[in-house]
């Protein structure tokens, strides 16, 4: 009897220890977008950090293997790779380095994809569903090693000679980055 209870307890324990990734089977429709109130700078008058309010959606996507691999696929499908290559950049800036012109948090990247940025990044609002923007942003962070190696994609189908994302050594975003001076300001 005790043995049976013990076995049962063990089975319950074993099952509860088996933590599966959860994700919403049906992502929210195109019309909805998460609200990310984030700053692009560390400077805020009199405060140690700017005021930031995020939706918390980051947790759902960062470190989630399914979303990261979807992001990797979408990175090619939405032609991100046409400008940013496999992270080295070209028409757009490099993404495997540690410099983040418009912020390196997942919320910053979501905003960059959604709003566009003034020196050439197009705005994809209304073109890419919200959840796919998050998948892309999570993957973009993985490109510079900013995703757990247990979740990051482990193989590349491209000719990119750089190691796959799960073997990329982490290169944490440099605060603020630098803006490459592409030109003289209009007078």
């Amino acid at each position: 009897m005790t043995r049976r209870i013990f076995r049962l307890a063990l089975a319950v324990l074993a099952l509860s220890a088996c933590q599966r990734e959860d994700r919403t089977a049906r992502p929210s429709p195109v019309g909805l977008e998460s609200r990310e109130e984030v700053a692009l700078v560390v400077l805020s008058p009199g405060e140690s950090q700017p005021t930031v309010r995020t939706s918390g959606k980051a947790k759902e996507f960062e470190g989630n293997a399914y979303h990261l691999s979807q992001g990797k696929k979408l990175f090619t499908w939405f032609n991100c790779s046409g400008c940013h290559a496999q992270g080295g950049g070209g028409m757009g800036p490099a993404l495997i380095d540690d410099r983040w012109i418009y912020g390196g948090s997942i919320e910053n990247i979501v905003q960059t994809i959604r709003e566009g940025r003034p020196n050439g990044m197009p705005s994809f609002r209304g073109r890419i569903p919200d959840d796919q923007i998050w998948e892309l942003a999570a993957y973009v962070r993985a490109m510079s090693g900013n995703a757990p190696s247990s979740a990051a994609p482990s193989r590349s189908d491209s000719m990119h000679p750089h190691p796959a994302e799960n073997r990329t050594s982490p290169s944490p975003p440099v605060s603020g980055g630098i803006v490459p001076p592409s030109g003289q300001m209009p007078q």
Partner: protein, 556 residues
């Protein structure tokens, strides 16, 4: 104009600088253009004023050569849309302004043609002809003739539809516009159209040589050089690569891409067309310069057009008919067997055709070609065409391309590297009549600058590691060199200044397709970056930094 004359010879009659005294050249003055991106432009001298145009944001400066140090007279800022930077395939370059009748004409990156009063710097007109939301930019130097400003678009990597148009010189209004894909009425093909080869004859080939509607995103842009023959009243322009790069998605000859049109300058009606690379497989834009010469060919006097082409051959065409007289290789070639002079057709080697899902290795020349935009110069004294060019090969893998307007339309991943010998650049003197190279100088990096040759038998070019070099036009001996602040990809200019001396001027500032690794801070760990050029240019960051400086030299 940047090409010196309508025939685009870049030959100067000045003789003060000679192989004997060129070693005494000194810096006369310098000027910072204030923009640290690729400087592909050409300084332009009219009277006692020098005009210098920067890359995006395309600021035009006038320098007073009559005063010591050539101080700034005025500057004009067209304030182009910053977002245009995101659809410029290969750095935010500009290939120069053009002067005619008291005005300067140039294109801005966001697709605007501008006319500025040369004396005052006041804007005469601005004409918006390109749309960045479909990926159109403008980087070429306009040509002005017959009261018209001839311009074309860029964006062959973004699935744009290439066009060439004439604007009224006085008002900036469009006089005619010719597309390079689509139905004959859009291409301005009518009863005057008499191509030399049968493969270019037929109705609406710009539609029929494509899968349904693929011509709408078919490329065939005009971002390179124009020449004009006043006697024939024909303007010559090349057409860029077809889109997408993945050729499996566009079976057919893909007219009228990767070719050359001769058009009536007044009406735009096509007179003839020749396709350098039918159904282009390797991004071989056909937009290089056409040098117009009158020469004896097989005992007959012929009006010819010499074209060093991206696919690796120097072509000699009859410029009245479009007949190919000669096509001889100047670069190691693994992809084609030559040009059949009967049909005019480039002979591809089928085993070297890239396919979806397979890496095709050792493609020579590479995507940027044996020779890209960097214009050559011709000296009637030596009979040599001075060719700045590359020595590059590549590996390619194709995949399905998705068309999303205003984003890259490629379906291709590329990895470039040095060709046989390990050097990436060559400066060749090509004996036009002899159809062979007379001599050549190997360079570590692709020679991306333009060149010029003078009646003093001196040629000038620059290297991507910053050297500005003077070469003996007959022997290829390097006579003098000067290390500028950044890599050179610009076009040299020579002129007689108000001081009575012969000067040579060049913009220094690395960039362009091979140099964008430096000018846009790319990460060289990814060899597929910059459309695959990063793989061949990893070490450029070790030898040069960004710049934007004009250097002017004269004898003491």
């Amino acid at each position: 104009m940047p090409a010196k004359n309508f025939a685009s010879t870049r030959y100067s009659e000045l003789t003060e600088i000679t192989p004997e005294n060129v070693k005494n050249l000194r810096v006369a003055f310098t000027f910072s253009v204030g923009v640290n991106r690729g400087q592909e432009s050409s300084p332009l001298v009219v009277g006692s004023t020098m005009y210098v145009l920067s890359p995006y944001p395309n600021i035009l400066y006038a320098l007073d050569l009559a005063k010591p140090g050539a101080p700034l007279k005025w500057q004009y800022n067209p304030k182009p849309e910053a977002a245009a930077q995101g659809v410029a395939c290969c750095d935010v370059v500009n290939r120069g302004p053009t002067y005619a009748d008291g005005h300067l004409f140039f294109n801005t990156l966001d697709g605007t043609v501008v006319s500025v009063d040369a004396a005052t710097g006041q804007e005469a007109w601005k004409s918006k002809v390109g749309n960045i939301n479909v990926g159109e930019t403008m980087t070429m130097a306009p040509l002005v003739a017959r009261g018209k400003v001839f311009v074309g678009n860029a964006g062959g990597e973004m699935g744009v539809r290439g066009w060439f148009q004439a604007l009224d010189q006085q008002s900036g209004k469009v006089v005619w516009k010719a597309f390079n894909t689509g139905p004959d009425k859009d291409v301005l093909i009518g009863s005057d159209f008499k191509p030399f080869y049968d493969s270019d004859k037929g109705q609406d080939l710009g539609v029929k040589s494509w899968p349904p509607n693929a011509w709408e995103q078919g490329g065939g842009t005009v971002w390179g050089w124009l020449s004009y023959d006043p006697d024939l009243n024909l303007v010559y322009h090349g057409t860029g690569n077809p889109g997408p790069w993945n050729a499996d998605q566009r079976p057919g000859d893909n007219k009228w891409t990767s070719g050359i049109f001769a058009r009536d300058a007044d009406t735009g009606q096509a007179r003839w067309f020749y396709q350098w690379s039918p159904h282009d497989l390797y991004d071989w834009d056909g937009i290089n310069e056409q040098v117009l010469l009158d020469m004896t060919w097989n005992g007959q006097p012929r009006k010819v057009l010499v074209r060093p082409e991206r696919n690796g051959y120097v072509y000699i065409l009859d410029r009245t008919s479009g007949e190919v007289l000669s096509a001889k290789p100047f670069h190691p070639i693994t992809t084609t067997r030559g040009v059949d002079l009967k049909t005019g057709r480039l002979q591809y080697i089928p085993e070297k055709k890239p396919h979806v899902g397979k890496v095709m290795r050792d493609i020579c020349p590479n995507a940027s070609g044996a020779k890209d935009w960097s214009p050559s110069a011709y000296s009637p004294r030596t009979g040599f065409l001075y060719l700045p060019h590359a020595n590059l090969c590549m590996d390619v893998e194709h995949m399905e391309a998705n068309y999303i307007a205003g984003t890259p339309y490629l379906g291709s991943e590329t990895r470039m590297r040095a060709g046989p010998g390990g050097h990436r650049g060559v400066y060749t003197a090509w004996d036009v009549a002899g159809e062979r190279a007379a001599w050549s100088i190997k360079e570590a990096f692709p020679v991306w600058s333009g060149t010029l040759v003078t009646a003093g038998d001196v040629t000038f070019y620059g290297t991507m590691d910053g050297w500005f070099k003077a070469v003996h036009a007959r022997t290829g001996e390097i006579l003098w060199q000067f290390k500028t602040g950044s890599g050179i990809i610009g076009q040299p200019t020579t002129y007689r200044g108000p001081d009575g001396r012969q000067h040579v001027a060049i913009l220094s500032g690395v960039g362009g397709w091979p140099g964008v690794v430096v000018s846009a801070d790319l990460d060289p760990r990814d060899g597929t970056g910059a459309l695959g050029f990063l793989n061949a240019m990893r070490d450029l960051k070790d030898v040069t930094t960004k710049g934007g400086m004009l250097y002017d030299f004269a004898l003491p």
